[in-house]
């Protein structure tokens, strides 16, 4: 029996054409193919300019590939009309890097969490659902009455995660969700994500430049470099036996605890 993949990315290329007569084209992604199976946690690793954010926008059907196709549960999602994507929008949710810019500062937490439910016409007891959501991210019910800016960075990211969980998604796309956080708060949020993925049986695409975080959270990984997929495989395999020079370079550059000072040159 074959399982229908959550995502099938097939030979996807994304070119951004800059405006103007002599505008040049930028290959954000070039001929990318991979699949994401249900229940998988896939890490997408790369640095600035690698195309990882473009990839997450394509997976969310916020943009359309220049060529190639992206299928979700067997159906092509790229280039579909928005009203045909309503079901997809419910099933696939995103958590962004910076909760301060992704959460409307003028809305109370209650409305931040209720808004996606209303927008997607999900019929639930709104108040009850908001309490449930806050509880699932270990926030007190009283938080609903306050504004996002009244919370710390880690708590704001909990609110952003609760908002994404509202429509009971099957897939969570997380774009650098812990990069802006302190080490100990980062650990709390990663623990929360680990628990949520297990409890709700989520499929996760986790976009990050932090190799240590990906190793902790993801069972497989794709490495992007300047818009190309340079390596992919099971996390353990890629981290223990990287095949590509670029992957090795990324691993070597990650800071490691040392009992004595010594920056080893990565070159």
């Amino acid at each position: 029996m074959s399982v229908i993949p959550t995502f099938e990315v097939d030979s996807v290329t994304k070119v951004y054409q800059s405006r103007g007569r002599r505008g040049h084209a930028v290959d954000a992604l070039r001929d990318i193919s991979f699949t994401v199976a249900p229940g998988q946690s896939l890490g997408v690793v790369g640095e600035s300019g690698s195309g990882k954010s473009t990839l997450s926008r394509l997976l969310l059907a916020l943009e359309k590939p220049t060529s190639g196709s992206i299928r979700h549960r067997g159906e092509v999602i790229s280039g579909r009309r928005e009203r045909d994507l309503q079901d997809f929008r419910r099933r696939v949710q995103i958590v962004f890097q910076d909760p301060m810019s992704s959460l409307d500062p003028r809305m109370r937490v209650y409305d931040l969490l209720a808004e996606p439910l209303r927008a997607l016409h999900i019929e639930v007891d709104e108040g009850e659902r908001v309490r449930e959501l806050l509880d699932s991210v270990e926030m007190p019910a009283a938080a609903a009455r306050r504004f996002a800016y009244q919370f710390s960075g880690g708590q704001r990211q909990r609110i952003a995660i609760a908002r994404a969980l509202g429509p009971s998604p099957e897939v969570l796309i997380a774009d650098e969700p812990v990069s802006a956080l302190d080490v100990s708060v980062r650990a709390q949020i990663l623990n929360l994500l680990t628990g949520l993925v297990q409890d709700f049986n989520l499929t996760m695409v986790f976009v990050s430049h932090d190799m240590a975080v990906v190793r902790h959270l993801c069972d497989s990984v794709v490495v992007l470099y300047r818009g190309r997929l340079v390596e992919m495989g099971a996390t353990e395999e890629v981290f223990e036996h990287p095949r590509e020079d670029y992957t090795r370079e990324l691993l070597a550059a990650a800071p490691r605890l040392r009992a004595q000072r010594g920056l080893t040159s990565s070159s």
């Binding site: 640095e47 600035s48 710390s152 960075g153 880690g154 708590q155 302190d182 080490v183 100990s184 708060v185 980062r186 650990a187 709390q188 990663l190 623990n191 680990t194 297990q198 430049h209 932090d210 190799m211 240590a212 975080v213 190793r215 902790h216 959270l217 993801c218 069972d219 996390t235 353990e236 981290f239 370079e249 990324l250 691993l251 070597a252 550059a253 990650a254 800071p255 490691r256 605890l257 040392r258 009992a259 004595q260 000072r261 010594g262 920056l263 080893t264 040159s265 990565s266």
Partner: protein, 329 residues
Amino acid sequence: MTALLSVRGLSVSSGPLELVRDVSFDVDAGERVGLIGESGSGKSLTALAVMGLLGEGLSASGSVRLGDEELLAASELRQCELRGDAIAMVFQEPMSALNPTRRIGDQVGETLRIHRHLSRKAAERAAVDLLARVEFTEPERYARMYPHELSGGQRQRAMIASAIACDPGVILADEPTTALDVTVQRRVLELLDRLVDEEGCALLLIAHDLAVVSEVCDRVITMYGGRVVESGSVSQIINEPRHPYTQALLATSKALSVSESSLGSQLPSIPGTVPSAGHFPHGCPFQDRCDRRVEACQVMPEMVETGRRALACWNPVVGATPSSGGEAA
């Protein structure tokens, strides 16, 4: 030898609120000292107080000595003379620390025009040399660019070029690599490391990532709630942290390692969050989040110094912890 930078009993207040309390530390020439702690622990305020750059409404007391000179008592004019010359700072966000309307070469050379009274032309020539020293391959070309034309790592290197222009004795670097990609982060850290070697200056590196500090620094100072709670050599801090807060930071760093698998496991984390200023408990600031709390913690413990190691805790962690996560250099 007397320390190049000597901070004694430094406090920073905003009205009746003490944001930094009784902070003392030394940094010698050629020494790299790391200052760690979570956001809100007072690291950046400490650095700004040392630089004399506290914002309006904030006041510093205590002593900050640079060589033989007391900085806190110095006039504003004298502080201006020293800032950028004898003591320089590298900020976390080069995009907001650099002026977007002025060319890189102009900004890097500005320090020399002000402190060495170089002509505009001479300063720009010197800026090109400085950009070459921080590893720009085409320094002339980059000198003519504006900050928005540079990548994050290039901007940070340009800011370092401007900081080292007058060969300062002390460099304060506040999370200089936090916003950068890992390979760029490594390059910037290696650059700072090399400059300290070459110039023999003192480096105070502020970071929340203990791994970064352990790679660059000789000594580590842990801050929490505006206070120094522990300090020691990197090997002491990594192999036998005594303060429960240092130990907790270390445990998280160890568990979240790029070289060890921890897939699906729960990471050790510190319960709760850092309170906002003014909401720390009386006594030890860490007691509410601490699993070694005892009755005595309601009173702030004295800082006890043993050699170059210092600790402020009533119930410190005893015995060496396994050093499995600390890789030998």
